[in-house]
């Protein structure tokens, strides 16, 4: 049986990588590795997981430098010379070991007006949303986001601009901008405009490259740029 040499981040920001030897199996995921370490080698290792089947996004970590869902990452796909490096997600404060603080991530979701607001009641007719319409297709392309933070952790603009809302929040705003039932209109466009918003995206594309659900925040952000600029020029912002 071969072993893996696994370097795991321990501590908070002022932490360090600690090495562990983990038995290697066929069909082993990175989450399996982390779980083995916590159960057998380091009982106070802090890390997050929930569904362990690629639905909840809780287990996102930085594996060999790239943000991934550890439950959906086979060791065989990412191992280099029988070695793995596992760290918490970037761009977020480190609570402990592999657990990052997602407070700001979700605060920015809120700041981008990422909540639906309608004006119909149960007494009104059903809203009619044409599934094949360009707007609904734009929504459908981005609606599956589960807020795992991989895109946000992968974005250098988030690193360089502390107030940048980030790809997830902007992607969610885009799905709502295109939702014909939503009434937040200009308020949301104002929220996602400018240097803290869509106009700071430099199309680095790391978000789109890394999204485990194959979403394309770059697309939504480009759409927001157009919509916001149009509104700004018309004086509607």
């Amino acid at each position: 049986m071969t072993t893996l040499n696994v370097r795991v981040w321990r501590g908070n920001e002022d932490g360090e990588f600690v090495s562990y030897e983990v038995p290697r199996h066929a069909s082993q995921t990175v989450l399996d590795v982390v779980t083995y370490i916590q159960r057998n080698l380091e009982p106070d290792l802090g890390y997050r997981f929930a569904c362990r089947v690629g639905m909840c996004g809780s287990c996102a970590m930085t594996v060999n430098g790239k943000a991934r869902w550890t439950c959906r990452t086979h060791v065989s796909k990412v191992v280099e010379n029988d070695a793995l490096e596992i760290a918490p997600l970037s761009n977020m404060p480190v609570i402990k070991d592999l657990a990052a603080d997602m407070t700001t991530f979700f605060d920015k979701w809120s700041a981008a007006k990422g909540q639906f607001k309608g004006n119909q009641t149960r007494h009104d007719e059903f809203a009619t949303v044409e599934p094949g319409s360009p707007e609904r297709q734009a929504v459908d392309a981005g609606i599956e986001c589960i807020g795992c933070g991989v895109c946000y952790a992968s974005c250098d603009v988030v690193t360089w601009r502390p107030d940048y809302l980030g790809p997830a929040a902007l992607n969610r705003a885009w799905t709502l901008v295109n939702d014909v039932r939503d009434v937040r209109g200009a308020e949301r466009l104002r929220a996602v405009a400018g240097d803290a918003g869509c106009h700071s995206c430099h199309t680095q594309g790391s978000c789109t490259e890394r999204c485990p659900k194959q979403l394309a925040p770059t697309a939504g952000i480009a759409g927001l740029k157009r919509k916001v600029a149009k509104a700004a020029i018309k004086g509607e912002l």
Partner: protein
């Protein structure tokens, strides 16, 4: 920039940088073709000026080129300053304006220099 310019202004700056980019795309293609043709057989003052002096179409084209650059370049530089130098105060906007003024002055002066009818000094 984010602290000192309104969100509407920031949105407009993005827009103007893209519009000037579209203008520059055309200008640059023409310019590159011109450079590659002009550089054949070496460059001399006489050759350059023979083509440009009194050539008002040339002058108009390059004036547009300069003005588009005056819009496009400082906005881009401001982004780099904000993100890589952490320069986010009001002074980065002022610096961008100053650079724009420098480009406009020096650029239009250069266009004038090569287009103004020959012989004068």
């Amino acid at each position: 920039m984010s602290q000192s310019l309104s969100v509407v202004t920031q949105a407009k700056l993005w827009y103007w940088q893209r519009i000037s980019a579209m203008v520059l795309a055309l200008c640059v293609i023409v310019h590159l073709v011109g450079i590659i043709m002009a550089v054949r057989g070496g460059l001399s003052g006489a050759e350059v000026l023979a083509r440009t002096q009194g050539n008002w179409l040339f002058g108009a084209f390059y004036a547009v080129f300069v003005l588009a650059s005056t819009v496009h370049v400082p906005i881009g530089l401001m982004r780099i300053a904000e993100e890589w130098l952490g320069w986010r105060s009001r002074s980065v906007v002022i610096a961008a304006w100053l650079f724009a003024a420098l480009l406009a002055f020096a650029g239009l002066r250069a266009v004038y220099a090569v287009v103004m009818p020959g012989g004068a000094a």
